[in-house]
């Protein structure tokens, strides 16, 4: 698995986490799995980056955390997008699209 790990672009982790939480509240491990799933296994997020990112977003008020019982009857901390988080997701998506457009144009202009 380790060989599939790709370094994430700076700033893309937040976007991915927000996107992962877009559908439903998830716990940390769930978010990691969801990101692997939606990137078709291209990205494997390390927990050393994921948890700090989650806590940072919690501080900023983008996500809210809550202890719940998981599908397997385990207690886990679930993260949920707040309205501020949804707004942030839109902003980051827009910015990302812009970056992609600019980069594509730049790289293909030669």
């Amino acid at each position: 698995m380790a060989e599939k790990r790709t370094d994430l672009l700076r700033g893309t982790l937040d976007l991915l986490v927000l996107k992962a939480l877009c559908l439903e509240p998830l716990h940390g491990v769930g978010i990691s799995r969801r990101i692997t799933q939606i990137t078709q296994g291209a990205f494997q997020v390390s927990f050393g980056s994921l948890f700090p990112s989650l806590h940072r977003m919690e501080e900023k008020g983008w996500v809210e955390a809550e202890w719940r019982t998981s599908e397997n009857n385990r207690r886990a901390k679930y993260y949920r997008l707040t309205s501020a988080g949804r707004a942030q997701l839109k902003i980051e998506q827009r910015e990302w699209n812009q970056v992609v457009k600019i980069m594509t144009a730049a790289v293909e202009s030669a």
Binding site: F47, G48, A76, K77
Partner: protein, 898 residues
């Protein structure tokens, strides 16, 4: 409202819960991952191992998260500070007023605190000072409630007492220092060899006295740092050099460090810090001075485990033992006078006289700080209201209450910090001004350092102000309802009632506190004026005095001393511009040693009871020179000399005391067991000690009729140190040079000292009350100013808020008078409430001032009335501008104001 505060603090302390939650979260993640691995077919232990690998180390992850949180805190703080500074910069007027107000409050409080700290709170600068006690003898029934020890009594006490591990004795001695530079007068202290070791005082050079040097009276001296610098330029060669003390050679054996001050300054006997120390070495005459010369101050170090209460019993027994040792006649007197020995803690004794003053000043300056805070609080409230919209917008954008509260707190702490830093600088300056003005009787230690305690005080005061002020807007419930605030500010109409009430509360409090200060200052001012009006019993104008001391070694015999002074009197009287001249051992307004006089044949048959009276020896036209009125009989004349009938002049108070209801003329009285004297005159009372002391009985004697042995032994140290007094036609100061020249024409080596006009002497005795009045007056003035700014701010703000309302009222036909009533009414209501509370408060606290007052009751109605008027006047003045603005409101403009 309080719940919000509780939440705030809970959030401050929630760090541990956060740690716990992080721990749980990682734990559950490990389990979730392990479960996943087990589904992939691993055994439990292997699954768990893999899970831990995938997580990448629990502690590392935790550390990362903690880093995020910590950085976040710092980042927020930096952001708050930046934002706060921007806000403060944007309102320079507001910021300046607040910071200056806090500077004034914190600065004044810190300055006074530095002095209170040095004098009252810090232990005396001696080894284990808490166990040092002062010992006094007293003969209360003869009018001596507190004295030093006499030499024979001290010898017995030292031998027999068991409560003290050490005893140390000391006594002032005014000496002439010569050799190695100009002769000059200095204060020496005779000290017992045990004193310095007992105080734990180490010399910076050389050594202190050895016991045998004290016992046999070796001519050795220890210099103060000041004297060492002055006469020896701080050279180490000073040791073992010779210094002339009263023209006798003494060998310098030590130099004390710069900070060492002893005796500590006080208004009591032996309360002058010494320039040099010499061995006590009691003379044989002193050691036989039973029943007199209670002049030596005594300190003792209590043995471990012994309390002052236990000492009392021993003192009673020893007092009886001491009286029994007196020769017959004296023993009877002293026994009837009930000789007693008392011990009090040294620290208490040293600060006793100034404790009240310093505590009053500390309280006063504390009130100023409170007023300053109240003032800033009203300003912050006004501003918080003006910022309501900004805060609401921030709240709507997702800032939490905590975040906003923290923002407010940061801003107020920034303000307090600014005030604190400036206040500390202000205190450094103000402290120097204060120290230069402090009356000499305050027992200041060698230096008044700006210690850590003082710095801590300033910091603590700023921090408290900052937090208190930051929480004020919180109490106002600024964020109670975001939408409400937004709607309200949309209309821009009225502010909440709570807001008005709070501001009213602060302004009322300011006025109440200011009133208390005003009344306090007023009372001191009234008593100061009363003091100045007091008739001192003599005419101080146009009188020049100087002290002309003759060293005992050069003027041994009474005849030599008398000759010198008679020649000086002749020369001085014939100086051009001199109306009359006199010499005396004592001057008006100086507290002097009391002696026991006995009138002849008292009617009550209980034997002759001695009375403590002041005694002055005079030569020349003393009463004419001082302007003391003769009420009966005659002045002294040149015929009153040795060999002729012994005569005395008594003051009115003595005449009434000794011969109540009878004519004092031609009655006889004597000093202790001495020869009888006939009263030839009665003069008016002259104040001794100070203007606020009641007139005491006083006996005047012709100097030439003093017994030769008494003059030669000079037990009180003033018979060879007479004061020359000249009544002049012109400015008395213009005669100084001529008069000193006359002294030096007789003996060029005599060091003339204390050259002062009686007017100067008079004003120096009121220096203390003047200082108190001035200082408390300044505080009251500052308080008044702050209160005025406070009420101005509140009214100006409420007028600005009510412009719309006033406009409507005027459009509907309200007269200017109605608008006037509206604004002035509110201002006056606040003032009156403040004054009413202030009157009640003043009644409760001014009695603490009573020991500082003279001729005025603490509840003096005039002062209370005047205080009310002043406060009302200031309040009216402060309301004038906002009122004018309100009456100038143009309805059209006001209604279009939105």
């Amino acid at each position: 409202m309080p719940t919000r505060i509780v939440n705030f603090f809970r959030n401050l302390w929630r760090r541990n819960t956060v740690e716990q939650a992080l721990d749980d979260e990682l734990q559950s993640s490990v389990e979730l991952l392990t479960e996943g691995k087990m589904k992939e077919g691993f055994a439990h232990s292997e699954a768990r191992r893999q899970a831990l690998i995938e997580l990448g180390g629990v502690e590392q992850v935790k550390e990362e998260v903690r880093g995020i949180r910590a950085a976040r805190l710092v980042e927020d703080l930096a952001k708050d500070v930046r934002y706060g500074l921007r806000q403060l910069r944007r309102n320079p007027g507001f910021t300046t007023v607040v910071v200056l107000t806090l500077t004034l409050g914190i600065g004044a409080t810190t300055a006074i605190f530095s002095i209170v700290n040095a004098v009252l709170l810090r232990p005396l600068p001696f080894k284990d000072a808490a166990r040092l006690a002062v010992l006094h003898e007293a003969i209360p029934k003869l009018g001596y409630p507190k004295m030093g020890f006499s030499a024979p009594d001290l010898a017995i006490y030292e031998r027999e007492q068991k409560s003290f591990s050490d005893l140390g004795a000391y006594q002032d001695k005014h000496v002439e220092i010569s050799g190695h530079g100009e002769p000059e007068r200095m204060t020496a202290a005779r000290v017992s060899a045990s004193l310095f070791p007992m105080l734990g005082a180490q010399p910076m050079l050389g050594r202190t006295f050895a016991p045998d040097e004290d016992a046999t009276g070796h001519p050795v001296a220890i210099l103060s740092y000041r004297l060492w610098q002055k006469r020896y330029g701080g050279s180490r060669d000073a040791l073992s050099q010779t210094i002339e003390v009263d023209r006798q050679p003494y060998t310098v054996i030590g130099v004390m460090p710069r900070d060492f001050v002893f005796p500590l300054a006080s208004a009591d006997d032996n309360g002058s810090p010494a320039d040099l120390w010499i061995p006590m070495a009691f003379t044989p005459t002193e050691l036989q001075g039973w029943g007199g010369s209670y002049l030596t101050s005594v300190l003792g170090r209590l043995r471990a485990g012994v309390t002052l209460g236990q000492v009392r019993g021993e003192n009673e027994a020893l007092a009886r033992r001491i009286v029994a040792s007196y020769p017959g006649g004296i023993a009877d007197f002293v026994r009837r006078g009930q000789l007693a020995i008392a011990a009090t803690p040294f620290q208490e004794e040293v600060v006793a006289s100034e404790r009240t003053l310093l505590l009053v000043l500390m309280a006063a300056v504390g009130l100023v700080l409170l007023i300053a805070c109240a003032n800033v609080a009203t300003l912050l409230l006004s501003r918080a209201a003006a910022r309501e919209r900004e805060l609401s917008v921030r709240a709507a954008l997702g800032a939490s209450r905590l975040r906003l509260l923290r923002q407010m707190l940061t801003e107020s702490l920034l303000l307090a910090l600014g005030g604190g830093v400036l206040g500390f600088l202000f205190a450094v300056w103000g402290r120097n001004v204060l120290l230069a003005m402090v009356p000499l009787s305050v027992p200041l230690p060698g230096r008044v350092p700006l210690s850590g305690g003082v710095l801590g005080f300033a910091a603590g005061a700023s921090l408290l102000c900052g937090i208190a002020l930051g929480l004020v807007p919180a109490f106002r419930a600024p964020l109670a309802s975001v939408s409400g605030a937004l709607q309200e500010s949309g209309r821009g109409a009225t502010t909440s009632r709570a807001h008005h009430r709070l501001q009213g509360f602060f302004v009322t409090a300011e006025f109440a506190l200011a009133f208390v200060l005003l009344v306090g200052a007023g009372l001191l001012m009234r008593s100061f004026l009363k003091l100045l009006e007091t008739n001192p019993g003599f005419r101080p104008d146009h009188v020049l005095t100087m002290n002309v001391p003759l060293p005992a070694i050069a003027y041994v015999h009474a005849s030599e001393v008398e000759n010198f002074y008679m020649q000086l009197l002749d020369k001085a009287s014939s100086l051009p511009g001199v109306e009359s001249a006199a010499l005396s051992n004592d001057l008006p307004l100086r507290e002097i040693v009391g002696v026991s006089y006995i009138p002849e044949g008292q009617a009550n048959g209980a034997g002759e009871t001695p009375e403590a009276v002041g005694q002055t020896w005079v030569l020349g036209n003393y009463f004419q020179t001082m302007g003391v009125p003769l009420l009966q009989g005659r002045w002294f004349t040149p015929e009153d000399r040795p060999g002729s009938e012994r005569v005395a002049i008594v003051n009115l108070s003595a005449a009434r005391k000794f011969w109540p209801g009878r004519n004092a003329l031609d009655k006889r009285l004597r000093w202790g067991g001495g020869p009888w004297q006939v009263v030839v005159g009665v003069v008016g009372n002259v104040n001794e000690g100070g203007l606020d002391t009641a007139p005491a009985p006083h006996v005047y004697r012709p100097y030439l009729q003093a017994d030769n042995p008494f003059l030669e032994q000079d037990p009180f140290g003033d018979m060879r140190a007479l004061n020359l007094a000249l009544r002049t036609h012109e400015d008395p100061a213009s005669l100084i040079t001529a008069a000193v020249a006359q002294v030096h024409s007789l003996d060029p080596d005599v060091a003339v000292t204390r050259i002062r006009t009686m007017t100067q002497v008079l004003s120096s005795t009121v220096a203390g009350p003047e200082f108190n009045t001035w200082l408390l007056g300044t505080f009251a003035g500052v308080a008044l100013l702050l209160a005025a700014i406070g009420i101005y701010g509140v009214l100006a703000y409420s007028v600005a808020q009510q412009i719309h309302e006033i406009g409507i009222r005027m459009a509907l036909g309200a007269e200017k008078r109605d608008v006037l009533t509206l604004v002035v009414g509110r201002g006056f209501k606040l003032t009156l409430m403040g004054v009413a509370i202030g009157i009640a408060g003043s009644f409760a606290v001014t009695r603490f001032l009573s020991s500082l007052l003279y001729g005025v009751k603490p509840t003096d109605p005039f002062t209370f009335f005047a205080g009310t008027l002043v406060l009302a006047g200031v309040s009216l003045l402060a309301t004038y501008i906002p009122t004018r603005r309100a009456t100038k409101v143009d309805p059209m403009v006001a209604l279009r104001y939105e």
